[in-house]
């Protein structure tokens, strides 16, 4: 394996401080893996925030996720997995010096990435219209678009019959029936008393009855949703930039000699972006 890599990296100009192309390639690769570790920790902060709030207030996440469209999320997952395939194929093409195939695969990856961002933009737009935004801008106005909030969920999920149709009235009624769950008042507990969400069986029961009542602090879900998918989206845009750069390098003939380090590094980054999305899909869209 490393023999082949070494051999095919021979076309690369070795920087003055390295002994040979293989040492240079191995250094770049280790550097990239360390960088990906920092990326995981960077997202890790948001995953911890997710875990803390979901652990303390599971009802908020159960409620919020009904407003996401699983089918669009699944579509985006498929798009990104396909783009990972084309990215891996691009590395292989670079190793085998198939420049035409390399360009095609880079281009396809960019197309998939734009497709992902397009679907994401469509989803964001829907949230924007209905005021389902992060906490500071959270102002749900579902009545503007049809009788029920069901439409927010999206046409494709209409067959998700087990989800109770939520109307503004049921929400209002439910809130009145439960004065404790006043959405205008923070119900955060003093930390010393432990996680209230886990200790409150009635709230856990609420999501089993499948009657969706807007819980207190429902906006937290949307804050987390926008932070996580937003940061991920920025990484996708960065990936588009990196692949565009690779395309320029390929047109310039940089990879003609079989020097594939750059393609390999960008592809590694792209696989991580893909992997993070798979976690986001599971954690944000597929809550029950």
């Amino acid at each position: 394996m490393s023999d082949r890599e070494h051999a095919s990296n021979d076309g690369m100009a070795v920087d003055h401080h390295f002994e040979n192309a293989d040492q240079q390639y191995q250094s770049a690769k280790l550097g990239m893996w360390v960088f990906l570790t920092t990326e995981i920790l960077f997202f890790g902060g948001l995953f911890v925030a997710y875990a803390v709030y979901r652990g303390n207030h599971p009802e908020v996440f159960v409620f919020g996720h009904h407003f996401l469209d699983k089918n669009l999320g699944a579509l985006n997952t498929v798009i990104l997995i396909c783009s990972s395939l084309t990215a891996a194929w691009a590395v292989r093409a670079a190793q085998l010096r198939q420049i035409g195939m390399l360009k095609l695969m880079i281009l396809l990856t960019i197309v998939f990435a734009f497709g992902f961002m397009g679907v994401k933009a469509f989803e964001y737009n829907g949230k924007w219209k209905h005021g389902l935004l992060w906490a500071g801008q959270y102002d749900p106005h579902l009545e503007d678009h049809g009788e029920t909030s069901h439409e927010v969920i999206g046409e494709e999920s209409a067959e998700d019959a087990h989800i109770e149709i939520v109307t503004e009235e049921t929400i209002v009624e439910a809130i009145e029936a439960q004065p404790a769950a006043d959405p205008n008042r923070s119900t955060i507990e003093p930390a010393a008393e432990g996680p209230a969400g886990l200790a409150a069986p009635d709230l856990v029961a609420a999501d089993e009855t499948e009657v969706e009542i807007e819980p207190a602090n429902a906006q937290t879900y949307f804050s987390i949703y926008f932070l996580m998918t937003g940061l991920h989206g920025i990484h996708v845009i960065g990936g588009i930039g990196a692949f565009a750069w690779l395309l320029l390098c390929a047109r310039r003939g940089d990879f003609d000699g079989g020097h594939f380090t750059r393609v390999d590094m960008v592809a590694l980054y792209w696989h991580l972006v893909d992997l993070i999305w798979i976690y986001l899909f599971l954690l944000l869209y597929l809550i029950d």
Partner: protein, 567 residues
């Protein structure tokens, strides 16, 4: 690489490379510096930048101490005072002490110790310096926009509601974080991939072990600070509500996030100082380092434990009693690897022939001050005592004993040790001793009084104080000016040495690590020959040569890589 000219001629080789071309003269003009990929020049630029930040932070500190000369108003209003202590903290932490040793001495010395021509990723190294400049500019610009008054920790909810320039300052710190990550990443790759022949992991100089452990923390902890500061900025600009109780968030979560980085960050500060110490103690005791493997492993142990103790900053935040106990116990466990290091250094000095040159004076100061700083850390790690001492001057004094008495003192020792290598000139030893003495006395006068004040209940960060603390505050202020005098003398003789200092030999101190095998200052490509590493602490392999006033190897070929081409 080894040219046919590299006949093992020893001293001649060293003289031969001492031609006029060195890294300082290799290119001319400001652009040849700003866009250099040479680790040595990047290290020197970092040194200038970081010492400028130290000066700025130091001026803030002197202003603070002057204000505290009397209770009530002395020279400024309470609002200005709040901004001053925040700026002092933020500048010293984010601009000076975190990048400090790795970015300056690490950048300069690490590839030389490896016998390498450069770090593995020189472009990333330059990018790190540029990010530092951008981050520093943004952070310093916040002073003009509306100086931050939150304290350097930016605790929510105050930091999300104050109208001072928290966004600019935290964005600056965010960018500086990336600079730090790039430096750490580079060092990890360099140490893994570029060690010379003969340098196994356990034949690395201990300086490299310390820098490597630091790099692990930089890479694993700094991204968490990045996301935390980004969340804080998002909180202020968009209102995402993660830390805002009015929107369902939790301000204490910010403290967890912040300290998850910032506790490991204090080991980013102290580990490179310990790395320098191992070199100084061995060389100036004229003895092989004692307990090499213990010192090496204790660096790794400190790096790993550093991630498990952040909760000790939050004993009074309403954390559960169980968590407090666990964090307290883990905090005590950090004392073990720290003590392992100190005992091994003492054992290295035992029966050594100790030379009290300036670097060693700083090393001895470190042992004394770090011991006080470390032991008072145990006071603060004990739950019951911490309740009494929390947020008092005792904490301030403890922190400064570790960070100033530890890191800064070792940094100064390192600067004095490698100064001849960096600039090819010797400084005035006599003035260096005067300055080291003033710094030691001034430091203790400034901060020991703060231990006393703190244990008597003087709260930290207060503008005003009770009459009975006046004597302590005035002693502390006098001490800070003595300290400043020591630094001015140091600046004087170091700058003077650049123009009028005696020419430095390749190896003025008798160190056996590879950086002493090249000329002072080093050639552009560091070494004329390819190097092979031996035992980095085998000081007996060197002898004093009075004719060049430096040390030379008894067998110069022992560190040269012999190849077939030579014969």
């Amino acid at each position: 690489m080894a040219e046919a000219t590299s006949a093992p001629g020893g001293d001649e080789l060293v003289d031969h490379t001492a031609s006029n071309d060195n890294y300082l003269t290799h290119g001319k003009g400001i652009l040849s510096w700003l866009f250099t990929l040479d680790h040595k020049r990047i290290g020197v630029m970092y040194l200038v930048a970081i010492l400028s930040s130290f000066f700025l932070g130091g001026v803030f500190a002197l202003v603070l101490r002057t204000e505290l000369w009397t209770p009530g108003q002395t020279i400024m209003t309470a609002d200005t005072y709040n901004k001053m202590f925040t700026l002092h903290g933020a500048v010293m932490i984010f601009l000076f002490i975190i990048p400090g040793i790795p970015a300056t001495l690490g950048n300069f010395v690490l590839p030389l110790m490896l016998g390498a021509k450069d770090v593995a990723l020189p472009r990333l190294n330059l990018a790190s310096f540029w990010l530092w400049l951008v981050g520093a500019t943004v952070a310093v610009a916040s002073i003009v926009i509306g100086a931050v008054d939150t304290g350097w920790t930016f605790y929510t909810p105050y930091s999300t509601t104050t109208n001072t320039a928290v966004t600019a300052m935290t964005l600056g710190a965010f960018i500086l974080g990336f600079s730090s990550i790039f430096t750490g990443l580079n060092f990890i790759v360099t140490i893994h991939k570029m060690r010379p022949e003969g340098m196994t992991w356990f034949r690395m100089p201990l300086f490299l072990w310390g820098i490597y452990s630091t790099a692990i923390i930089q890479v694993l902890a700094t991204p968490v600070l990045g996301i935390t500061l980004l969340l804080l900025v998002a909180e202020r600009t968009l209102g995402v509500g993660i830390f805002d109780p009015a929107l369902g968030g939790d301000p204490v979560l910010y403290q967890h996030f912040f300290w998850f980085y910032s506790h490991p960050a204090v080991y980013i500060m102290i580990l490179p100082a310990m790395a320098i110490m191992s070199e100084l103690i061995s060389v100036f005791s004229g003895k092989h380092i004692f307990g090499y493997k213990f010192i090496a492993w204790s660096s790794i142990a400190i790096a790993l434990l550093s991630f498990l103790v952040w909760g000790h900053h939050m004993f009074t935040s309403g954390q559960s009693g169980l968590m407090n106990m666990i964090f307290s116990a883990l905090t005590f466990s950090v004392a073990i690897p720290s003590a392992v290091k100190v005992f091994n250094w003492l054992a290295t000095m035992y029966k050594g022939s100790i030379r009290l040159a300036a670097p060693m004076l700083y090393a001895l100061s470190f042992l004394f001050l770090f011991a006080i700083g470390g032991l008072t850390g145990l006071f603060l790690g004990s739950l019951s005592v911490d309740i009494h001492l929390h947020d008092t001057y005792f904490v301030v004094a403890h922190f400064h004993y570790v960070m100033f008495g530890g890191t800064v003192i070792a940094f100064l020792g390192g600067i004095h040790y490698w100064w001849p290598k960096m600039f090819g000139r010797m400084y005035s030893e006599r003035w260096a001793q005067v300055s080291a003495f003033l710094i030691f006395v001034g430091f203790n006068l400034t901060f020991f009084t703060q231990f006393v004040m703190g244990s008597h209940g003087m709260p930290r960060r207060y503008y005003n104080y009770l009459e009975r603390f006046t004597a302590y505050h005035q002693a502390s202020t006098v001490g800070s000016f003595v300290l400043a005098l020591g630094f001015f003398i140091m600046a004087g003789y170091l700058l003077h040495s650049l123009v009028a200092g005696e020419k430095a030999p390749a190896n003025p101190w008798g160190g056996a690590t590879l950086e002493w095998e090249t000329t002072s200052p080093p050639a552009y490509y560091n070494f004329k020959n390819e190097m092979r590493a031996g035992d980095p602490y085998d000081l007996d392999a060197l002898r004093w040569d009075p004719s060049i006033k430096g040390y030379v190897r008894k067998d110069p070929s022992s560190v040269l890589l012999s190849t077939g081409e030579e014969s």
